[in-house]
Amino acid sequence: MTKRFDPIVFIVDDDEAVRDSTAMLVRSLSLRAETFASAQEFLDDFDAQQPGCIVLDVRMPGMSGLELQEKLAEEGATIPIIFITAHGDVPMAVSAIKRGAMDFIQKPFRDQELIDKIQAALCRDAEVREAMTDRERFKGRIALLTPREREVMDLVVEGHANKVIAAELGLSERTVEIHRARVMAKMAADSLAQLVKMALLVREKD
């Protein structure tokens, strides 16, 4: 089980004053902040295991914010990105969101607005990481099922009654009941609803 890290708000902006003031704002919320003067510096340091979010300027010398977003997407990184910019326009904002940015705000903005968006981004990051961990755990449990138990589980999760499953698989109802009970135990599911949730989570993206 991976160790839980405290989330970090990464601030990437070539303007030192902006970096410093944003970092101060973040730390005033008792959150960790790390600043980078360029996209490349951030990438050099990037660790996908580290929870957090990025507050990212669009326009920087060298690699732009949008290029950084693309690079992170190529690596399959899911860290939420909040773009901040003095120069943005509607097409740019739409493009950034289409490519997966969580938000896009224009300067000047109120501190509270950025705070709210950072909180939302950290929440989203935590949810995504938890889902990924849950998914791995459930996949692991499914791997412990026998092929027959797997067949029964798939039909149970689709909502079929034991009688129907028995007919479908050519088993007695009693045998289906036994398999079903084993599935519930191996999956550590307390209810059908829970089992369905697990199955759906595992099926996502497959």
Binding site: G88, D89, V90, P91, A93, V94, I97, K98, D103, F104, I105, Q106
Partner: protein, 148 residues
């Protein structure tokens, strides 16, 4: 194209998916109708959300292009309702008073695209074609899946 009134259906290329357009401005209705017609794309143009929903056939639709501000409903509300129907109809928002926060909000609510007015015909057309290609690819995949 036989469109005389905004709610009339274009009938060339029968069977082709329909691009639904909703806009209160008659000049936008006319220019959209003309754009679709000259591109050989089947379209249906409406003035209000109510008219659109009355005529909507989700299975026949390719996408919905709607102005953000309609007399009877917001374009975002239309999108929400379509999502509730599980219509799988991409919604492109056209906005006469666009700004970054509105655009971001629309995209985060699930809009397929958000374009400021006045829009460039070529750009909008390319987006529509993107949606149609995706739709036709999805249809082919679906067909492959269900025909062994």
């Amino acid at each position: 194209m036989k469109t005389e009134s905004p709610a009339q259906r274009v009938t060339d290329e029968a069977g082709a998916p329909i691009v639904y357009v909703i806009d209160p401005d008659p000049s936008v209705q006319a220019s959209m109708a003309s754009l679709l017609d000259t591109s050989g794309i089947r379209g249906a143009v409406f003035e209000t959300a109510a008219e659109f929903f009355a005529a909507l056939d989700p299975r026949a639709g390719a996408c919905v292009i709607t102005e953000l501000h309609l007399p009877d409903m917001s374009g975002l509300e239309i999108q929400r309702r379509l999502a509730d129907f599980s219509a799988d109809l991409p919604v492109i928002i056209l906005a006469s008073d666009a700004n970054v926060p509105t655009a971001v909000s629309a995209m985060n609510s699930g809009a397929y695209d958000f374009i400021e007015k006045p829009f460039v015909n070529r750009v909008l057309l390319e987006r529509i074609r993107q949606v149609l290609r995706r739709r036709s690819r999805d249809d082919r995949m679906e067909l492959q899946r269900i025909t062994p």
